[in-house]
Homo-oligomer: 148 residues x 2
DNA sequence: TCCATTACTTGCATTTTACAACTAATTTGA
DNA sequence: TCAAATTAGTTGTAAAATGCAAGTAATGGA
C-alpha cells in the first residue's frame, strides 16, 4: 500500500472535523482556531501576541482581532509588559483556564476512546509513530518552518 | 510520555499548514477546502453534490457555492443526471484533473521528503500506524461519523 | 393524485481572513 | 545623542467562507 497521501488526507480530515466539534463548553462556544489560541496561551508562559501568532502560523492582524473577541468573551487577559511598552502579555482568565482544561479533557477522552480499539502493543506503536512523524516534519525543509 | 493531545495538536497544526500552502498550481490558486473537493471528485466516480459534501462533512449550501466557484475557474463540470433530474454529477475538467494531479504529486513529494528522515523500518511502522489510527477512528462512536 | 421527501439554489447575516497603512515604543548606528 | 529603521500591535477595508431559513423543482409513496 503506497498511497500515502490518501492516508494523510483522511487523517487530517478526521482531525479537522474533531476540532470543529470540540469547542462548546457550557454556554461558551468557540471556534477551532480560538481553542488553539487558548491552548497555546495556556502552554506558553505569559507569551506576547507575536509569539502565539507565530506558533500558530497566523497573520498577526487576524490574531489581534481573535484576541479582542476572546477578551470580550472573558477568556483571555492582555497585560502590558513592563519591560517593553509595545508588548502585551497574554494569559487565560479563570474562565478561560476552565474552558481550555475542559476542551483538553474531552479531546483526551476522545483519544482514549479511539485507542481503546487497539491492543496495548498497537497503542504504543501508534504513539511512537506520531512522535516520529512530528520529528520528521520538523526536520523537513519543505513546509511548516515556523511551527514548533 | 502520555500527553496524547499535545502530539495530535502539533500534528494537525502541521497538516493544516501544509494544506494551506499546498494549492497554487501555475496561475490557478485555490483554497485548501477546494483542493479537498477536487480530490474527492477525482476519487469518486461522477458523484452527486450531496455525496461529496457529505464525505467532506460540509454544509450543502457552502458546498454549492464552492462548486460554482470551481466551475467559474473551469476546474469542475456539473452534468445533470439522466436518471434523476434533481441530481448533478460532478467531474473534473481537463484543467481540473491537471490541477488535482499536480497537487497530489506535490503532496506526495512532501511526504516522501518527510519520510526520508526515517529508516525503512520506521517508515513501515509509521505508515502502518496511520492505517491503524484511521481504522480506530472510523470505529469510534464519539466523532466523525459521516467520514469514510 | 396529493403529500412528504430529496437535491440543489439563493437570500441573508455573521465570521474569518489578510493586505495596507497607521501609531507608538525601541533599537541602531553615524 | 539623535534621526532613521525596526518592531509590536491596531484599524480600515474588502474579499471569501460559513450556515441557517426559505425557496424551486423533481421524485416517490400512499
Amino acid at each position: 500500500m503506497e498511497n500515502k497521501r490518501e492516508l494523510f488526507q483522511v487523517l487530517t480530515r478526521r482531525f479537522g472535523l474533531l476540532n470543529k466539534n470540540c469547542c462548546s463548553v457550557g454556554s461558551v462556544d468557540i471556534s477551532s482556531v480560538q481553542s488553539h489560541i487558548l491552548y497555546e496561551i495556556d502552554k506558553q508562559t505569559a507569551p506576547s501576541m507575536q509569539q502565539v501568532a507565530e506558533t500558530l502560523a497566523m497573520d498577526i492582524t487576524t490574531f489581534s482581532r481573535q484576541i479582542q473577541t476572546l477578551i470580550k468573551l472573558d477568556l483571555v487577559k492582555k497585560t502590558p509588559s513592563s519591560a517593553d511598552k509595545r508588548v502585551y502579555n497574554l494569559s487565560l482568565t479563570a474562565q478561560g483556564k476552565f474552558v481550555s482544561t475542559t476542551i483538553d479533557h474531552s479531546m483526551n477522552a476522545y483519544l482514549e476512546e479511539v485507542f481503546s480499539h487497539m491492543n496495548e502493543f498497537e497503542k504504543e506503536t501508534v504513539i511512537r509513530s506520531i512522535q516520529l512523524l512530528n520529528q520528521a516534519m520538523s526536520k523537513s525543509s519543505v513546509c511548516c518552518t515556523p511551527l514548533l
